[in-house]
Protein backbone atom coordinates (compact mmCIF):
# COMPACT_ATOMS: atom_id res chain seq x y z
CA UNK A 1 0.00 0.00 0.00
CA UNK A 2 1.37 3.29 -0.90
CA UNK A 3 1.88 5.89 1.75
CA UNK A 4 0.51 9.32 1.17
CA UNK A 5 1.73 12.45 2.88
CA UNK A 6 -0.06 13.18 6.10
CA UNK A 7 -2.94 15.55 5.40
CA UNK A 8 -3.02 18.84 7.30
CA UNK A 9 -4.95 18.70 10.57
CA UNK A 10 -8.55 19.87 10.43
CA UNK A 11 -9.53 22.94 12.37
CA UNK A 12 -10.80 21.97 15.80
CA UNK A 13 -14.27 23.42 15.25
CA UNK A 14 -14.70 21.55 11.98
CA UNK A 15 -13.55 18.31 13.57
CA UNK A 16 -16.09 18.70 16.36
CA UNK A 17 -18.85 19.43 13.85
CA UNK A 18 -17.98 16.32 11.90
CA UNK A 19 -17.98 14.15 15.04
CA UNK A 20 -21.41 15.45 15.92
CA UNK A 21 -22.69 14.00 12.65
CA UNK A 22 -22.35 10.59 14.25
CA UNK A 23 -23.14 7.69 11.92
CA UNK A 24 -24.25 9.80 8.97
CA UNK A 25 -22.80 8.26 5.83
CA UNK A 26 -21.05 10.53 3.35
CA UNK A 27 -22.41 10.44 -0.20
CA UNK A 28 -20.52 8.28 -2.66
CA UNK A 29 -19.70 11.28 -4.79
CA UNK A 30 -17.68 12.70 -1.93
CA UNK A 31 -15.52 9.61 -1.82
CA UNK A 32 -15.00 9.80 -5.59
CA UNK A 33 -13.88 13.44 -5.36
CA UNK A 34 -11.50 12.69 -2.53
CA UNK A 35 -10.13 9.69 -4.35
CA UNK A 36 -9.59 11.75 -7.48
CA UNK A 37 -7.77 14.46 -5.61
CA UNK A 38 -5.29 12.04 -4.08
CA UNK A 39 -4.85 9.85 -7.11
CA UNK A 40 -1.95 10.12 -9.50
CA UNK A 41 -2.37 10.25 -13.28
CA UNK A 42 -1.89 6.91 -14.95
CA UNK A 43 -1.81 5.92 -18.53
CA UNK A 44 -5.00 4.34 -19.79
CA UNK A 45 -4.69 0.81 -21.10
CA UNK A 46 -4.49 0.37 -24.90
CA UNK A 47 -7.78 -1.40 -24.98
CA UNK A 48 -9.55 1.67 -23.58
CA UNK A 49 -7.97 3.93 -26.23
CA UNK A 50 -9.11 1.65 -29.02
CA UNK A 51 -12.67 1.92 -27.72
CA UNK A 52 -12.80 5.72 -27.49
CA UNK A 53 -10.62 6.68 -30.47
CA UNK A 54 -13.42 6.86 -33.09
CA UNK A 55 -15.43 9.15 -30.89
CA UNK A 56 -12.49 11.42 -30.18
CA UNK A 57 -11.67 11.75 -33.88
CA UNK A 58 -15.28 12.72 -34.66
CA UNK A 59 -15.27 15.48 -32.05
CA UNK A 60 -11.89 16.85 -33.19
CA UNK A 61 -12.94 17.14 -36.89
CA UNK A 62 -12.19 20.76 -38.11
CA UNK A 63 -15.34 22.85 -38.59
CA UNK A 64 -15.85 25.63 -41.14
CA UNK A 65 -14.95 29.06 -39.61
CA UNK A 66 -17.70 30.90 -41.44
CA UNK A 67 -20.77 29.27 -39.98
CA UNK A 68 -23.98 30.78 -41.08
CA UNK A 69 -25.10 31.82 -37.61
CA UNK A 70 -21.83 33.65 -36.91
CA UNK A 71 -21.91 35.41 -40.27
CA UNK A 72 -25.49 36.49 -39.76
CA UNK A 73 -24.75 37.83 -36.29
CA UNK A 74 -21.71 39.77 -37.52
CA UNK A 75 -23.64 41.19 -40.45
CA UNK A 76 -26.43 42.30 -38.15
CA UNK A 77 -23.95 44.03 -35.86
CA UNK A 78 -22.34 45.85 -38.78
CA UNK A 79 -25.74 46.89 -40.11
CA UNK A 80 -26.83 48.23 -36.74
CA UNK A 81 -23.56 50.10 -36.31
CA UNK A 82 -23.75 51.58 -39.80
CA UNK A 83 -27.36 52.59 -39.29
CA UNK A 84 -26.45 54.29 -36.05
CA UNK A 85 -23.69 56.18 -37.82
CA UNK A 86 -25.98 57.30 -40.61
CA UNK A 87 -28.63 58.56 -38.24
CA UNK A 88 -26.10 60.20 -35.92
CA UNK A 89 -24.50 61.96 -38.88
CA UNK A 90 -27.80 63.59 -39.71
CA UNK A 91 -27.22 66.33 -37.19
CA UNK A 92 -29.91 68.51 -38.64
CA UNK A 93 -32.59 70.68 -37.15
CA UNK A 94 -36.14 69.51 -36.99
CA UNK A 95 -37.84 70.06 -40.35
CA UNK A 96 -40.91 71.17 -38.45
CA UNK A 97 -39.09 74.24 -37.14
CA UNK A 98 -40.51 76.94 -39.41
CA UNK A 99 -37.62 79.35 -39.04
CA UNK A 100 -34.57 77.20 -39.06
CA UNK A 101 -35.75 74.81 -41.74
CA UNK A 102 -36.06 77.62 -44.23
CA UNK A 103 -32.52 78.82 -43.60
CA UNK A 104 -31.16 75.82 -45.41
CA UNK A 105 -33.08 76.49 -48.59
CA UNK A 106 -31.31 79.17 -50.61
CA UNK A 107 -34.11 79.21 -53.16
CA UNK A 108 -36.51 80.43 -50.48
CA UNK A 109 -34.11 83.15 -49.46
CA UNK A 110 -33.70 84.24 -53.06
CA UNK A 111 -37.49 84.36 -53.44
CA UNK A 112 -37.71 86.71 -50.45
CA UNK A 113 -34.96 88.87 -51.93
CA UNK A 114 -36.99 89.43 -55.10
CA UNK A 115 -39.59 91.33 -53.13
CA UNK A 116 -39.55 94.97 -52.22
CA UNK A 117 -37.38 97.81 -53.46
CA UNK A 118 -34.13 98.08 -51.50
CA UNK A 119 -32.06 101.26 -51.34
CA UNK A 120 -28.79 102.02 -49.56
CA UNK A 121 -29.09 104.80 -46.98
CA UNK A 122 -26.92 106.45 -44.39
CA UNK A 123 -27.41 106.34 -40.65
CA UNK A 124 -29.33 109.61 -40.58
CA UNK A 125 -32.12 108.19 -42.76
CA UNK A 126 -32.88 105.37 -40.36
CA UNK A 127 -35.63 105.73 -37.76
CA UNK A 128 -34.62 106.73 -34.21
CA UNK A 129 -35.57 103.27 -32.98
CA UNK A 130 -33.40 101.55 -35.61
CA UNK A 131 -30.49 103.82 -34.74
CA UNK A 132 -30.98 103.17 -31.05
CA UNK A 133 -31.07 99.41 -31.57
CA UNK A 134 -28.04 99.58 -33.86
CA UNK A 135 -26.18 101.48 -31.15
CA UNK A 136 -27.29 98.93 -28.58
CA UNK A 137 -25.96 96.20 -30.85
CA UNK A 138 -22.58 97.96 -30.91
CA UNK A 139 -22.67 100.36 -33.86
CA UNK A 140 -21.08 103.76 -33.31
CA UNK A 141 -24.34 105.55 -34.02
CA UNK A 142 -25.07 108.98 -32.66
CA UNK A 143 -28.78 108.40 -32.21
CA UNK A 144 -30.74 110.25 -29.62
CA UNK A 145 -30.07 107.42 -27.24
Amino acid sequence: MERHPEPAALPKSLEESLRRLGGVQAPEELWHRVALSISKPAEAPDELWRRVEPEVRAVARPRPILRFRRVAAAAAAVAVFALGFLLAGRDRPSPTDPVFAYAERPELRDRFLEQGIAIQVGEEQLSPTARMLAGARGAATEGSL
Binding site: F85, F100, L113, A118, Q120, T129, A130, L133, R137, A139
Partner: protein, 349 residues
Protein backbone atom coordinates in the same frame (compact mmCIF):
# COMPACT_ATOMS: atom_id res chain seq x y z
CA UNK B 1 -30.97 37.75 -25.35
CA UNK B 2 -27.43 38.52 -24.27
CA UNK B 3 -26.74 39.86 -27.75
CA UNK B 4 -29.39 42.59 -27.40
CA UNK B 5 -27.34 44.85 -25.09
CA UNK B 6 -24.40 44.46 -27.47
CA UNK B 7 -26.51 45.55 -30.44
CA UNK B 8 -27.88 48.48 -28.48
CA UNK B 9 -24.36 49.53 -27.57
CA UNK B 10 -23.25 49.31 -31.20
CA UNK B 11 -26.22 51.43 -32.26
CA UNK B 12 -25.56 54.09 -29.65
CA UNK B 13 -21.82 54.28 -30.23
CA UNK B 14 -22.05 56.69 -33.19
CA UNK B 15 -24.47 58.93 -31.29
CA UNK B 16 -22.11 59.10 -28.35
CA UNK B 17 -19.30 59.86 -30.73
CA UNK B 18 -21.27 62.69 -32.34
CA UNK B 19 -22.16 64.12 -28.94
CA UNK B 20 -18.55 64.16 -27.87
CA UNK B 21 -17.22 64.98 -31.27
CA UNK B 22 -16.82 68.15 -33.15
CA UNK B 23 -14.70 69.24 -36.00
CA UNK B 24 -11.55 71.21 -36.27
CA UNK B 25 -10.25 72.90 -39.34
CA UNK B 26 -8.61 69.66 -40.21
CA UNK B 27 -9.87 66.64 -42.04
CA UNK B 28 -12.77 66.18 -39.68
CA UNK B 29 -14.44 69.46 -40.65
CA UNK B 30 -17.89 69.18 -42.12
CA UNK B 31 -18.80 70.78 -45.42
CA UNK B 32 -20.95 73.92 -45.27
CA UNK B 33 -24.21 74.09 -47.16
CA UNK B 34 -25.16 75.99 -50.27
CA UNK B 35 -23.26 76.38 -53.51
CA UNK B 36 -23.37 80.13 -53.07
CA UNK B 37 -21.34 79.91 -49.94
CA UNK B 38 -17.63 80.54 -49.61
CA UNK B 39 -17.44 77.27 -47.75
CA UNK B 40 -19.65 75.48 -50.25
CA UNK B 41 -19.63 71.76 -50.07
CA UNK B 42 -21.79 68.85 -50.89
CA UNK B 43 -23.34 68.45 -47.51
CA UNK B 44 -25.53 70.33 -45.16
CA UNK B 45 -24.57 71.77 -41.82
CA UNK B 46 -23.72 69.60 -38.91
CA UNK B 47 -20.98 67.13 -38.27
CA UNK B 48 -19.66 64.76 -40.84
CA UNK B 49 -20.13 61.20 -39.82
CA UNK B 50 -17.00 60.00 -38.13
CA UNK B 51 -15.72 63.51 -37.30
CA UNK B 52 -13.09 63.31 -34.60
CA UNK B 53 -14.25 64.41 -31.17
CA UNK B 54 -12.95 67.94 -30.42
CA UNK B 55 -13.35 69.57 -27.07
CA UNK B 56 -14.76 73.05 -27.44
CA UNK B 57 -13.35 75.63 -25.07
CA UNK B 58 -15.57 76.66 -22.20
CA UNK B 59 -15.78 80.31 -21.38
CA UNK B 60 -17.99 82.66 -19.45
CA UNK B 61 -18.83 86.29 -19.98
CA UNK B 62 -17.13 88.89 -17.77
CA UNK B 63 -20.37 90.11 -16.19
CA UNK B 64 -20.73 86.72 -14.53
CA UNK B 65 -17.62 87.34 -12.42
CA UNK B 66 -16.80 89.64 -9.54
CA UNK B 67 -14.46 92.03 -11.31
CA UNK B 68 -13.60 95.45 -12.56
CA UNK B 69 -12.30 95.35 -16.13
CA UNK B 70 -11.01 98.13 -18.31
CA UNK B 71 -11.59 97.39 -21.97
CA UNK B 72 -11.10 98.91 -25.38
CA UNK B 73 -13.99 98.42 -27.79
CA UNK B 74 -13.09 99.14 -31.39
CA UNK B 75 -15.77 99.31 -34.07
CA UNK B 76 -15.76 100.08 -37.77
CA UNK B 77 -17.97 102.92 -38.92
CA UNK B 78 -19.86 103.36 -42.18
CA UNK B 79 -16.89 105.06 -43.84
CA UNK B 80 -14.55 102.20 -43.01
CA UNK B 81 -12.68 104.04 -40.28
CA UNK B 82 -12.54 102.84 -36.69
CA UNK B 83 -13.76 104.42 -33.48
CA UNK B 84 -12.43 103.34 -30.12
CA UNK B 85 -14.33 103.39 -26.84
CA UNK B 86 -12.60 102.87 -23.51
CA UNK B 87 -15.05 101.42 -21.08
CA UNK B 88 -15.00 100.01 -17.57
CA UNK B 89 -17.16 97.04 -16.69
CA UNK B 90 -17.91 96.40 -13.04
CA UNK B 91 -19.79 93.30 -11.94
CA UNK B 92 -20.62 91.81 -8.57
CA UNK B 93 -20.76 88.22 -9.77
CA UNK B 94 -24.41 88.06 -8.66
CA UNK B 95 -25.96 89.39 -11.87
CA UNK B 96 -25.50 93.12 -11.36
CA UNK B 97 -23.19 95.08 -13.58
CA UNK B 98 -22.40 98.59 -14.75
CA UNK B 99 -20.71 99.65 -17.98
CA UNK B 100 -19.19 103.11 -17.97
CA UNK B 101 -17.62 105.01 -20.85
CA UNK B 102 -14.34 106.58 -19.77
CA UNK B 103 -12.73 107.47 -23.07
CA UNK B 104 -13.55 107.97 -26.75
CA UNK B 105 -11.44 108.21 -29.86
CA UNK B 106 -13.61 109.31 -32.82
CA UNK B 107 -12.64 108.18 -36.30
CA UNK B 108 -9.66 110.20 -37.46
CA UNK B 109 -8.65 111.32 -33.95
CA UNK B 110 -5.07 110.70 -32.91
CA UNK B 111 -5.73 109.42 -29.40
CA UNK B 112 -8.39 108.54 -26.87
CA UNK B 113 -9.79 111.54 -25.05
CA UNK B 114 -12.50 112.14 -22.48
CA UNK B 115 -15.96 111.24 -23.78
CA UNK B 116 -18.57 113.87 -24.52
CA UNK B 117 -21.62 114.16 -22.30
CA UNK B 118 -23.77 112.89 -25.18
CA UNK B 119 -21.70 109.75 -25.50
CA UNK B 120 -21.71 109.20 -21.74
CA UNK B 121 -25.51 109.46 -21.79
CA UNK B 122 -25.77 107.03 -24.70
CA UNK B 123 -23.61 104.49 -22.89
CA UNK B 124 -25.66 104.87 -19.74
CA UNK B 125 -28.83 104.15 -21.73
CA UNK B 126 -27.35 101.38 -23.88
CA UNK B 127 -25.17 99.60 -21.33
CA UNK B 128 -27.51 96.66 -20.68
CA UNK B 129 -28.05 96.09 -24.39
CA UNK B 130 -24.32 96.36 -25.08
CA UNK B 131 -23.45 93.74 -22.48
CA UNK B 132 -26.31 91.42 -23.46
CA UNK B 133 -26.36 91.71 -27.24
CA UNK B 134 -23.10 93.29 -28.43
CA UNK B 135 -20.74 91.24 -26.28
CA UNK B 136 -20.27 87.59 -27.13
CA UNK B 137 -21.88 84.85 -25.07
CA UNK B 138 -21.36 81.13 -25.38
CA UNK B 139 -24.46 79.35 -26.63
CA UNK B 140 -25.32 75.69 -26.64
CA UNK B 141 -22.75 73.06 -27.51
CA UNK B 142 -24.95 71.95 -30.39
CA UNK B 143 -25.16 75.39 -31.97
CA UNK B 144 -21.43 75.99 -31.55
CA UNK B 145 -20.59 72.75 -33.31
CA UNK B 146 -23.28 73.12 -35.93
CA UNK B 147 -22.43 76.66 -36.92
CA UNK B 148 -18.71 77.03 -36.42
CA UNK B 149 -15.42 75.34 -37.16
CA UNK B 150 -13.11 75.62 -34.18
CA UNK B 151 -9.34 75.85 -34.17
CA UNK B 152 -7.07 76.60 -31.24
CA UNK B 153 -4.26 78.86 -32.34
CA UNK B 154 -0.78 77.76 -31.29
CA UNK B 155 0.97 79.31 -28.35
CA UNK B 156 -0.44 81.39 -25.54
CA UNK B 157 -0.87 85.12 -25.22
CA UNK B 158 -1.12 87.52 -22.34
CA UNK B 159 -4.06 89.86 -22.01
CA UNK B 160 -4.60 92.10 -18.98
CA UNK B 161 -1.71 90.26 -17.38
CA UNK B 162 -3.49 86.93 -17.69
CA UNK B 163 -2.26 83.88 -19.60
CA UNK B 164 -4.78 83.14 -22.32
CA UNK B 165 -5.49 80.78 -25.17
CA UNK B 166 -6.72 81.96 -28.54
CA UNK B 167 -9.30 80.27 -30.73
CA UNK B 168 -10.22 80.97 -34.33
CA UNK B 169 -13.88 80.25 -34.94
CA UNK B 170 -15.04 80.22 -38.55
CA UNK B 171 -18.70 80.33 -39.49
CA UNK B 172 -19.66 77.32 -41.56
CA UNK B 173 -22.00 79.32 -43.77
CA UNK B 174 -19.45 81.90 -44.89
CA UNK B 175 -20.67 84.67 -42.58
CA UNK B 176 -17.20 85.44 -41.28
CA UNK B 177 -15.03 84.48 -38.33
CA UNK B 178 -14.34 85.32 -34.72
CA UNK B 179 -11.12 85.18 -32.73
CA UNK B 180 -11.58 84.52 -29.03
CA UNK B 181 -9.07 85.18 -26.24
CA UNK B 182 -9.88 83.17 -23.13
CA UNK B 183 -8.24 83.31 -19.72
CA UNK B 184 -6.72 79.86 -19.17
CA UNK B 185 -7.38 79.71 -15.45
CA UNK B 186 -10.75 81.42 -15.09
CA UNK B 187 -12.19 80.49 -18.51
CA UNK B 188 -13.10 84.17 -18.74
CA UNK B 189 -13.62 85.70 -22.17
CA UNK B 190 -11.21 88.63 -22.18
CA UNK B 191 -11.19 89.55 -25.84
CA UNK B 192 -12.66 88.92 -29.25
CA UNK B 193 -12.38 90.06 -32.85
CA UNK B 194 -15.33 89.78 -35.23
CA UNK B 195 -14.64 89.69 -38.97
CA UNK B 196 -17.17 89.71 -41.77
CA UNK B 197 -17.43 87.43 -44.77
CA UNK B 198 -14.67 89.34 -46.59
CA UNK B 199 -12.28 89.04 -43.66
CA UNK B 200 -12.67 92.69 -42.68
CA UNK B 201 -12.60 93.43 -38.96
CA UNK B 202 -16.01 94.72 -37.86
CA UNK B 203 -15.40 95.10 -34.15
CA UNK B 204 -13.12 93.95 -31.37
CA UNK B 205 -12.89 93.99 -27.62
CA UNK B 206 -9.66 93.88 -25.65
CA UNK B 207 -9.39 93.81 -21.87
CA UNK B 208 -6.48 96.01 -20.85
CA UNK B 209 -6.71 95.75 -17.06
CA UNK B 210 -8.41 93.31 -14.75
CA UNK B 211 -9.11 93.53 -11.03
CA UNK B 212 -10.68 90.43 -9.51
CA UNK B 213 -11.05 91.95 -6.04
CA UNK B 214 -12.53 95.35 -6.79
CA UNK B 215 -14.03 97.77 -4.32
CA UNK B 216 -17.57 98.17 -5.63
CA UNK B 217 -18.76 100.58 -2.97
CA UNK B 218 -20.90 103.31 -4.44
CA UNK B 219 -21.32 101.69 -7.84
CA UNK B 220 -24.64 102.50 -9.48
CA UNK B 221 -25.75 99.27 -11.07
CA UNK B 222 -27.38 99.33 -14.49
CA UNK B 223 -31.17 99.31 -14.69
CA UNK B 224 -33.50 99.23 -17.68
CA UNK B 225 -34.35 102.70 -18.94
CA UNK B 226 -37.89 101.51 -19.60
CA UNK B 227 -39.80 98.45 -18.36
CA UNK B 228 -38.74 95.33 -20.23
CA UNK B 229 -40.85 92.20 -20.04
CA UNK B 230 -40.79 88.88 -21.83
CA UNK B 231 -43.30 88.69 -24.67
CA UNK B 232 -45.47 85.66 -24.04
CA UNK B 233 -47.59 85.77 -27.16
CA UNK B 234 -50.97 87.24 -28.11
CA UNK B 235 -51.87 87.53 -24.44
CA UNK B 236 -49.41 90.43 -24.24
CA UNK B 237 -50.60 92.23 -27.38
CA UNK B 238 -52.87 94.60 -25.42
CA UNK B 239 -49.88 95.68 -23.30
CA UNK B 240 -47.56 95.96 -26.30
CA UNK B 241 -50.16 97.80 -28.35
CA UNK B 242 -49.87 95.73 -31.52
CA UNK B 243 -49.38 92.17 -32.73
CA UNK B 244 -45.77 91.46 -33.73
CA UNK B 245 -45.15 89.79 -37.06
CA UNK B 246 -43.55 86.34 -37.20
CA UNK B 247 -40.37 85.36 -39.01
CA UNK B 248 -40.45 82.92 -41.88
CA UNK B 249 -36.73 82.99 -42.59
CA UNK B 250 -33.53 83.36 -40.58
CA UNK B 251 -29.87 83.24 -41.60
CA UNK B 252 -28.39 79.79 -41.35
CA UNK B 253 -27.55 78.75 -37.82
CA UNK B 254 -29.59 81.39 -36.04
CA UNK B 255 -32.32 80.28 -33.66
CA UNK B 256 -34.86 82.45 -31.87
CA UNK B 257 -33.93 82.60 -28.20
CA UNK B 258 -36.12 85.26 -26.64
CA UNK B 259 -38.75 87.89 -27.27
CA UNK B 260 -39.09 91.01 -25.18
CA UNK B 261 -41.41 93.97 -24.92
CA UNK B 262 -39.75 97.33 -24.27
CA UNK B 263 -42.53 99.47 -22.82
CA UNK B 264 -41.10 102.90 -23.57
CA UNK B 265 -44.55 104.55 -23.58
CA UNK B 266 -44.67 104.09 -19.81
CA UNK B 267 -41.66 106.40 -19.51
CA UNK B 268 -41.63 108.56 -22.63
CA UNK B 269 -45.31 108.54 -23.61
CA UNK B 270 -46.25 108.21 -27.25
CA UNK B 271 -43.10 110.08 -28.33
CA UNK B 272 -41.36 106.69 -28.26
CA UNK B 273 -43.79 103.88 -29.05
CA UNK B 274 -43.46 100.52 -27.37
CA UNK B 275 -41.40 98.08 -29.34
CA UNK B 276 -40.96 94.34 -29.57
CA UNK B 277 -37.49 92.78 -29.84
CA UNK B 278 -36.85 89.24 -30.99
CA UNK B 279 -33.35 87.89 -30.48
CA UNK B 280 -31.78 85.29 -32.76
CA UNK B 281 -28.57 83.58 -31.59
CA UNK B 282 -26.18 81.29 -33.44
CA UNK B 283 -24.11 80.20 -30.48
CA UNK B 284 -21.92 83.31 -30.39
CA UNK B 285 -23.59 86.30 -32.06
CA UNK B 286 -27.03 87.86 -32.06
CA UNK B 287 -29.41 89.28 -34.61
CA UNK B 288 -32.05 91.67 -33.32
CA UNK B 289 -35.44 92.10 -34.95
CA UNK B 290 -37.20 95.20 -33.70
CA UNK B 291 -40.83 95.97 -34.40
CA UNK B 292 -42.55 99.15 -33.39
CA UNK B 293 -46.29 99.67 -33.66
CA UNK B 294 -48.06 102.70 -34.96
CA UNK B 295 -51.62 103.82 -35.49
CA UNK B 296 -53.71 101.26 -37.33
CA UNK B 297 -53.08 97.60 -37.86
CA UNK B 298 -52.91 95.12 -40.69
CA UNK B 299 -50.33 94.13 -43.28
CA UNK B 300 -50.59 97.31 -45.31
CA UNK B 301 -49.70 97.55 -48.99
CA UNK B 302 -48.09 94.89 -51.14
CA UNK B 303 -44.48 94.20 -50.23
CA UNK B 304 -43.40 94.52 -53.85
CA UNK B 305 -43.79 98.30 -53.66
CA UNK B 306 -42.30 98.77 -50.22
CA UNK B 307 -39.09 100.76 -49.89
CA UNK B 308 -36.62 98.82 -47.79
CA UNK B 309 -33.69 100.74 -46.36
CA UNK B 310 -30.31 99.03 -46.15
CA UNK B 311 -27.62 100.67 -44.06
CA UNK B 312 -24.13 99.32 -43.43
CA UNK B 313 -23.00 101.12 -40.30
CA UNK B 314 -19.69 99.30 -40.28
CA UNK B 315 -19.85 97.17 -37.21
CA UNK B 316 -23.55 96.46 -37.65
CA UNK B 317 -25.83 96.14 -40.68
CA UNK B 318 -29.41 97.34 -40.62
CA UNK B 319 -32.45 96.58 -42.75
CA UNK B 320 -35.52 98.68 -42.03
CA UNK B 321 -38.87 99.37 -43.55
CA UNK B 322 -42.60 99.67 -42.92
CA UNK B 323 -44.92 96.71 -42.94
CA UNK B 324 -48.39 98.09 -42.62
CA UNK B 325 -48.48 100.31 -39.60
CA UNK B 326 -45.40 98.68 -38.11
CA UNK B 327 -41.79 99.71 -38.49
CA UNK B 328 -39.60 96.62 -38.65
CA UNK B 329 -35.81 96.53 -38.51
CA UNK B 330 -33.31 93.68 -38.56
CA UNK B 331 -29.78 94.22 -37.25
CA UNK B 332 -26.67 92.07 -37.06
CA UNK B 333 -23.33 91.21 -38.60
CA UNK B 334 -24.59 88.53 -41.00
CA UNK B 335 -24.39 89.36 -44.73
CA UNK B 336 -26.81 92.06 -45.82
CA UNK B 337 -28.81 89.80 -48.14
CA UNK B 338 -29.42 87.40 -45.25
CA UNK B 339 -30.71 90.20 -43.05
CA UNK B 340 -32.84 91.51 -45.89
CA UNK B 341 -34.38 88.09 -46.55
CA UNK B 342 -35.12 87.85 -42.82
CA UNK B 343 -36.84 91.25 -42.93
CA UNK B 344 -38.82 90.32 -46.05
CA UNK B 345 -40.01 87.11 -44.42
CA UNK B 346 -41.82 89.05 -41.71
CA UNK B 347 -44.10 90.50 -44.35
CA UNK B 348 -45.46 87.07 -45.24
CA UNK B 349 -48.81 86.19 -43.81
Amino acid sequence: MRRVPVLIALFLAPWLGSCLGGSSSGAGAAAAPGAENALAGQGGPGLAAGAAAHHLPTFRAPEEFLLEAERLYRVRDAAGAYEVFREVLRADGQGQFALELTGHQPAGAAAIGPPSLDWQARYEFRQRFLVHFRDLHRGSEESLRRNYVWEELPGSVTMAGRSCSRHLVTNRYGYGSIELTIDDQLELLLGWVVRDETGQELSSLETTALNLAPNLTGVTWSAPAAPIQPYRGPIDDPVLGFTPLSLHYAPAGYFPTEERMVLTEQVFGTSIRNFHVEVLHDGLQTILIGQQGGNGTGPGGPIQKTIIKLSDLGGVRVVEGPIGARQVCVLGTAPMQELRATWNSTSQF
